[in-house]
Every structure is written in C-alpha cells, then in structure tokens.
C-alpha cells in the first residue's frame, strides 16, 4: 500500500493578519519577516488520515509530496516528523507562485513518476489561496476517481470507504483503489510530532526534483498557467460603522439593543 499525501507550505494562518502585506502592483502577498511558514492545516489532516490508515492496516508506505520553493523542505520535514516515510519536493522556478491548475499538473506528474500509488490524499484547500482545486485536478489528470471533503477514511483490501461531508450531514462513498481523497477539518486534529519522531525524521529520505525530472516541459506548464490571470489582489475595505450599545449593566444594554433593533425594524 503506497499512500501519497500532497502538502503545501503556507504563511501560518494562525498568525496575526497584520503579518501579511499585499503588493497590489505585483498582485502578490508579501509575508512579513518572522512570519513562520507552516504546512497548510488541512494538509496536516490529510497526513493524519494517511497515518490512521497505516495504523489500521499495520503496514503502508507514506510519501509526502510538495511543490514549492526550497523553503518547503521544512513543511516536508514536518511531514516526516509526523510519520511520513519519505518526502519529495518538486522545486522549479517554473512553479513559483503557480496557481492551482499548474500545481495539479506538477503534483500529478510527480505522482506518475513515483510509480504505482494506491491512495492520494490532499487537504480540501490550502490555507493561502483557499481554492480547493488541486485534489480534483490531480484526479482528473491521472484519470482517477476523487472523493472530496472527507471526514473519515477507511481502507479494506482494495476498497476505499470515505465519509464525505454534506451541508446537512454526510454520505459514505466506496470506490476501488487507486483513488484521490481531499480531507476536511471534520476529520479531527492532526497529531503533533514527538521528539523521538522528529529525531528519526532527520534520517528519512527527502528528494528534490525539477520539472524536467518529472517529465514536464516548459511549454506544458506555460499552457496550463495561461488558463488564469490574477487581475487584482486587495484587502477588502470595511464600510460598516458599529453603533456600540452602552448601559449600566447587561439588562440595561439588552433593553437598549432591543429598542434599537425595533426602531430599525429588524425584530
């Protein structure tokens, strides 16, 4: 059983928003110095799902795969410390700040180059662009079925069983392997690497490959990247003026608020 988990390095989404600056001219986000780059949380949960599958089967190889800059080694080291067996970084100037479609092209090509893979996991979306496209793209480019927004993943023999989140509940979907699954936050918290695992991780293999190494020509990448153009990136302006309701104590505040809401015909 070979499981590939796709992980992305992003500016820490838990950090104060003031740590992010927008270069409106270049339409890029400029993280402030000192803002930590971390593995996207949904991807951590995808890796958590893979680890749970390995635990239930007793045996499986887990490869963490990332497309990103040199710094993304750190996200992969985190994956190895969480329990992945091997890591692969696809690092190439052609993928700098690439959009989801291009990332899906790179990831699917890298997976193809890895040889036989049974299960491919990604987070439901990355915490930077929040697109939720790459997992579906990988599946389509590899011609595999995909199940999105998973909250539980189980493998029995060659069959995959996934609980998929719906707006009013969930559904259980089965499919033969190989398949792609995108993992949602409902899966539950990802484990924190132990000191022992972190030490062990230093000896696990982390390979770096270029676009050419995974069989992608510059023209293929450019064609995919040309499908979308970002025309603007900005911080939304807040126009609401908040009317703070005052009062000596909570009952007084409540009476004033109720009266104001009535005056505005809201209740």
């Amino acid at each position: 059983m070979h499981i590939v988990v796709c992980v992305k390095q992003v500016p820490n989404p838990e950090a104060a928003f003031s740590m992010l600056k927008v270069d409106e001219q270049a339409k890029k986000v400029v993280p402030a110095a000192g803002l930590p780059l971390v593995m996207s949380p949904f991807d951590e949960q995808a890796l958590e799902a893979a680890l749970r599958v390995r635990e239930s089967l007793g045996e499986a190889k887990i490869t963490a795969l990332s497309v990103g800059p040199e710094s993304a080694r750190n996200a992969l080291k985190h994956a190895l410390a969480m329990g992945a067996d091997e890591a692969l970084l696809v690092c190439d100037p052609a993928f700098t700040d690439c959009a989801s479609e291009t990332a899906a092209l790179a990831l699917s090509s890298a997976i193809r180059a890895l040889g036989p893979v049974d299960l491919i996991l990604t987070g439901r979306q990355a915490a930077d662009w929040d697109a939720g496209i790459a997992g579906c793209g990988i599946a389509e480019l590899l011609g595999l079925p995909v199940i999105t927004f998973a909250r539980r993943i189980e493998v029995n023999a060659a069959t995959l069983s996934v609980e998929r989140v719906l707006s009013d509940g969930h559904e259980t979907i089965e499919t033969p392997l190989p398949a792609v699954v995108t993992v949602s936050n409902e899966l539950g918290a990802a484990r924190t690497p132990s000191l022992r695992e972190t030490m062990r991780a230093a000896r696990k293999p982390l390979t770096v490959k270029s676009a050419a190494d995974i069989g992608l020509a510059a023209a293929d990448i450019e064609r995919m990247a040309a499908r979308r153009v970002r025309t603007r990136l900005y911080v939304p302006v807040k126009t609401v003026q908040c009317e703070l309701v005052s009062g000596a104590d909570e009952p007084a505040q409540a009476v004033t608020l109720a009266r104001r809401l009535r005056e505005e015909r809201l209740v």
Binding site: E174, V255, L266
Partner: protein, 328 residues
Amino acid sequence: MAIPKTSILVVAEAHDGAGSALTRELLGLARDLAGSGEVAALLIASGAQACPDLIAHGADRVYLCEQEGGDEYEGERWLPQAQRVAREAAPLAIFAGHTPAGADLAPRLAFRLDSAVATGCFGVTAGDGKFLFTRACYGGNLRETISIESAPAVATIRAGVGIARVDPARRGEIVRNAVEGVTSRTRVVARERELSAATSLEDARVIVAGGRGLEGPDGFRVLEELAQVLGAVVGSSRVPCDLGWCPHSWQIGLTGKTVTPELYFAVGISGAGHHMAGCGNAKTIVAIYTDPQAAIFREARFGVVADYRKLVPALAQAISKLDEGKTT
C-alpha cells in the same frame, strides 16, 4: 462587444421540483450578465419537474439529463452529463453554487473541459466576452480577482451574489440530453442527515451564531433561548464545531456554509476572516463580545461589549417584552 448566444450555463441543484434558492440566484445573476445572450440551465434529475421553475427564474433553455436517482448529487454520475452538455451548449461560462456538490463538480468539470475554475466567488462581472471573478483568499482576509482566459470559464458562486427574480410568464425550451448508461467508479452506500429542512441556515431570515467565546457547549443552550424568541436558526463558527460543542453542519464560514440572513447575531465570535467569509453578506450584524478591540466590531452594525451569559438571556426577555402593552 456584446456577449454572444448561449453565454452562461448554470448547473442547477433542485429539490421537490424547484431550483434551490442559490440556483435561482445564479439564474438571476446569469440573466443580468448575459444581456441579449442566452442563459441555459443544466438539470440532472430523475424527472422534469423543476424545469418550469428554472425557466421562470431566467433559463432560456434547460438541458435536462434524466437519470434514475439523479436528484442527489453524485460526482461520477453528474460529470459525464455536465461534460456532454457543456460541449453541446459551448457556453462562455459555467456557474455552479458553492455547495458540496458545486465545489466537487466544478473543478473536475473545468479540467475535463481543459479550462480553469474560480471557486467560492463573491462577485462576477462580464465584459468583452470575458468574466472576472472575485473571491476570498488567505482565510477570508484578502480578495483576489481572477480572469479565466480559457473557455468556458467555470466558477462556483456563493449565496448573496445574484438576485433571484421570478417571472412565471417567461418561456423557455427543454432539451433532453442525457448520456445513457453512465457507469460510476464510486458507490454511495449511505447518507445521513443531521438537520431537518425546517432549520436550514441558508434559508434563515435570522441567525444566532456562537463562537469560541461561548467557552463550551452549554453556550448554545443560551443561544437557543434567544433563537426561539426570534424564530431564528442557530449556527456556529468553526472552532465550536471542531471542538464538538455543536454539529459540523452548523458551521458558517469559508469552509462551512455561506449565509445571507437579514439579521445575524455573532455571539462570542471574534470576527476572523474565515468566519466573515460565510456571513459577511448578512444585511445587519449584531456583535456580542467581551473584547472591544475584536475585529467583529469593525464588521457589525450594532455591538455590545458584554458577557453573553448575562446579555443574551436579558436580550431574549427584552425582545419578547417589546410587544407587551400594545393592542394586538
């Protein structure tokens, strides 16, 4: 340049013989953007019942793919139908709702059509035959505008972007266009619903939502008291769902539901971007929070700096007393 014929195809989601509220909004949006161009709807369903509703809300043509069990979304069964109709109608854009169905279908369809997709859009404009999509990113803190350069431009769109308009006199054509014998690599073995349709957050006029500041599951009992007085539906930000204080289906935000009520009570919610991405289109937000510096007070029309445990029950009482002493 005007947008040519068959400009926009809307992927419909229908229940009980009618388009969903979001589908109706998307038809209204498509109608507004298409000008003299044609708006088509794709209906994958077990029957034709929803066709008149889709036409009345703006579809000039409904591509009907009748499929046994087709009323419930199944990616593997819907995609071949959507792909065929997209090829046949050759629209400039395809709109789906940003729902568990739309967010599953649209990216896959975009790849099958060798195009690209904008997900979770808050705004759409059209000009010169091109579409610009504005969406939230970086946890709802930023907005980006994307131009899709390939055709068709595929997008999933949130509630509150389009306006549903109904004209029962509108005429439209129904084209039956199903791929027969679709085979599926996946099999849905069970579906479990947590909520009854009566408590749908998406359709609620008033919502009382709680966040991390509730400090525990009991906080939702307090909110339910207020919700009962207001006839409101109770929702949540992500943290209480992840902590198991309330069902996941209550989650409002970037990765949860997008809601558009008239009145939204944010209780114990700090106002992080990922939550506001789901409720920012509420007409009026009332914030109840202990920290006056919290971001929610920059989003809300009314704010109370208070302990919700004392304020919310008092508010429920004050509201129920508003009509006392009046002749009925």
